[in-house]
Symmetry: C2
Subunit: 491 residues, 2 copies
């Protein structure tokens, strides 16, 4: 929007402002949202996007929230090379299988052909653990808790969607090494709680927390625990996760140490991550046909102030608008005093861009010592006295944050159906629901499930299981079920 | 060091602790410093290092200093793709020539050969400006001020040195676009002052500020202004820089806009950067044969507290040590209460790792309500009363910061010799000095200069020129000089 000459802008203002697709035509709606709300743009590299300032500022916020928290856990940030020699990548067989189909390979530098192909990291286990094996020698070196913020390439050939499925994305890679299995597994709760707090309290996103099935776990992990999110289009998507790797990597990369009895032991490892995909989940979850809606705690600018003036009143109105801007400084307000656009155009633009609260001030408001405060999430207008604007706006922002989470929670809860037959499962999946049903821990059952449901898979398996589990049978093979699992179509 | 079982550690404590090479055998000394002070490590990717926690924490500090400042300038952070299609990279000819010899090329993804080679970005002009050309249409869209923190690959075939010359490094890329030449050039002062402030006040590094010669400027720029640093080994190294690109890129990538008269104009552009190389400059500048020395403002942990205890006194000494740790919280102190190492070993380890101030507390100190405070930079010891420790430590840290800058400034000033003959120049370069001499702005003269001096080049050209410039002749060709330039060997 903001990149248009006035004439085109006014024209577009009539016809095309806002998202013209309905939210239920999800992918067209989501794509328009990305472009028109100025969150991302396509590039000449297929499957890779530009993160524009609003989206990137929100990601930087997530980064700082994670950094603050892991620092308290004693985790230290490091930076490993982007490129990984093929010979390192192939050390851990399962890990290799999981990633090679998607690896981008550097084969030439300048005009020289390289002797060995270098992988653009799809993830950093291989390069990090080669170093860990040299750095860790004694029990004194443990625990070793490192984290890195990485841009990674996974050259998927499926249809890309901005933020949700891109060939390049950014994430944190927590890589921790412990002397004992117990210490390593104790970390799980701490990490999952951290990610859940950030998603819940800042991004206003509820999730389903549980273990992945063996078929769906991370390549190389003993088990994976994930936060799964439910999108308005009826698709689930995997968010942050925690992988307990046991000794799989420590044996493959020889990460061993001398214990206090001078005996050689293999270390126990975890990895954990949150990625830029969460931006897409948040944008998709809260927004509407008028454009972006952001939870105030995630929004870089929580307020926009739009002065309404004519030549004779401009000076006084602007003066007051600046006062309010100063008063509300903590919310990083935008004062939109552009002459070349009319207020109506500005309202639409900032609604499209998801500023949580709009403040309108015109000559009439000045006379009444008040301004008009409008919520982006439900368009409610309120007349607020200048002297109360600080307190009132603070309350409104808190209320928006709460309201968005509750709306998303209702959507999630409403989507889940517990059932115990394959027929019901198929119908429920057709109706874009999340199924909670008994299954046996068995790849064949999951393959069949996927096939017969037209692509649904096990999302995860909650720790707390229904009481009737021991009496329940797998909805696929009919044998005794190992667990109740969440099942759905997923990105 | 910290990755050793006790026995080996004690052994090494006798023989190899600290940097065994003398600082004047620079490259051996610097390499040992990197490894033993635990700042970086080599990897299986030749020319690429791991940034270990201390080094990376200092880089993160630099990042936050830059981000704070550019936000005030109205610059917004974005994130563009890592990979750049070859067809985009070749648009600006000079730019292309500058980088292609060093580009790492992705040619395969999974098992598929790509139709077009993708460059791992050596810098992001090509991919950013392709987007800018679509985003910028009207004078309303200007100025556009974006920045990105990028990891880049430049596959140099020269001998790599950790931090100072590595095939992968990280930097900020400021890319700003203006409607007029004047606005664009006005940005120069703001950016150069920002970089100079950070280098001077935080990294304690003085520099020579000036324009690059046409031969040495950035590939694609109209002119380049740089901060040049002088290292203890007599080599200069280029630090942060600012490039005025004029309309070179805007014409190559069609970054044009309609001005207020609806006339098409090409935009004016700048780019500016500071890189992880500055870490190497800072480590090299301040450190000594005992190991790392860090300016307190750059050090992640400014203090280490080493309690000296025997079994009977341990409890009381530790109690007091914890009190002091709490008192000095703002300096992120390390309390080294490990049982498995003796105090002498700990002193050496933390000196090696460059903690600016060490506090020793033993039973005798307790009796006197005092502790011993030791400076890393000059080893001066002071007995300080507990009640004064906060104030005193603050003063000492400030004094260390000042002292390190003054030492570096003296080294730089002492290295510069102004002269006006080629013979003197050659001698001075042999003696590892920086020469300030008259030159003509002429690539042939610079080639000859480089050849005859055994590799010296023009570092930069200060804005303020000697009064006798108009009477001065180029020390190479003897014709009227265009400027006095700083000349030296450089990384």
């Amino acid at each position: 929007m903001k990149y248009m000459a006035k004439k085109e802008a006014v024209k577009e203002n009539k016809n095309e402002l806002g998202v013209t697709a309905e939210k239920d035509e999800f992918s067209e709606w989501f794509t328009q949202l990305m472009i028109k709300a100025d969150l991302a743009d396509y590039t000449k590299v297929s499957g890779c996007i530009v993160f524009k300032p609003t989206a990137w500022a929100i990601w930087e916020k997530i980064v700082s929230l994670v950094n603050e928290r892991i620092k308290k856990f004693g985790v230290k940030n490091v930076c490993f090379p982007l490129l990984i020699p093929e010979s390192l990548l192939i050390r851990e067989k399962e890990h290799l299988k999981g990633f090679t189909p998607e690896v981008a390979w550097v084969t030439e530098a300048g005009n020289t052909k390289l002797n060995e192909r270098l992988a653009v990291r799809p993830t950093s286990e291989a390069i990090m653990y080669d170093s860990f094996s040299r750095w860790i020698r004694s029990w004194r070196d443990l625990p070793l808790k490192y984290n890195q913020w990485s841009n990674v390439i996974r050259w998927e050939f499926k249809h890309p969607t901005p933020f949700l499925r891109t060939r390049e994305f950014v994430f944190n890679e927590g890589h921790t090494v412990y002397a004992t299995k117990e210490e390593a597994e104790d970390e799980r709760k701490q990490i999952i709680e951290m990610y859940n707090e950030i998603c819940k309290d800042y991004l206003a996103l509820p999730s389903l927390i549980g273990k992945k099935s063996d078929k769906e776990k991370f390549a190389g992990a003993v088990y994976t625990e994930s936060l799964e999110f439910f999108m308005p289009n009826g698709k689930a998507t995997q968010g942050p996760d925690f992988h307990f790797d046991g000794q799989n990597f420590s044996k493959a990369y020889d990460i061993s140490f001398l214990d206090k009895d001078e005996k050689k032991q293999y270390a126990w490892q975890n990895t954990w991550a949150i990625s830029t995909r969460m931006l897409g989940v948040m944008f998709a979850m809260h927004s509407d046909n008028k454009g972006l809606i952001l939870p105030p705690k995630a929004a870089p600018n929580k307020i926009v102030i739009v002065p309404i003036f004519f030549d004779d009143t401009k000076e006084n109105v602007l003066k007051k608008a600046k006062e309010i801007e100063l008063k509300l400084k903590e919310y990083e307000p935008i004062l939109d005093s552009r002459n070349e656009y009319n207020p109506g155009f500005k309202y639409n633009e900032w609604e499209l861009k998801g500023i949580p609260v709009r403040i309108e001030i015109g000559p009439k408001d000045l006379e009444k010592d008040s301004c008009v405060v409008v919520r982006r999430d439900n368009n409610k207008k309120e007349i607020v006295k200048f002297k109360e604007v600080n307190k009132k706006v603070g309350e409104i922002l808190e209320d928006i944050q709460k309201a968005l989470f509750e709306k998303a929670k209702k959507l999630l809860d409403g989507a889940i159906v517990q059932l115990d037959s394959k027929q019901e499962m198929k119908k429920a999946i057709e109706n874009r629901r999340i199924v909670f049903a008994p299954l046996s821990n068995n790849a064949e059952c999951e393959d069949l499930l996927k096939f017969e449901s037209g692509g649904a898979k096990v999302l995860n398996i909650p720790e707390e299981q229904p009481k009737n589990l021991d009496k329940s049978k797998c909805i696929v093979c009919g044998k005794k079920a190992d667990y109740f699992a969440y099942i759905g179509k997923s990105y």
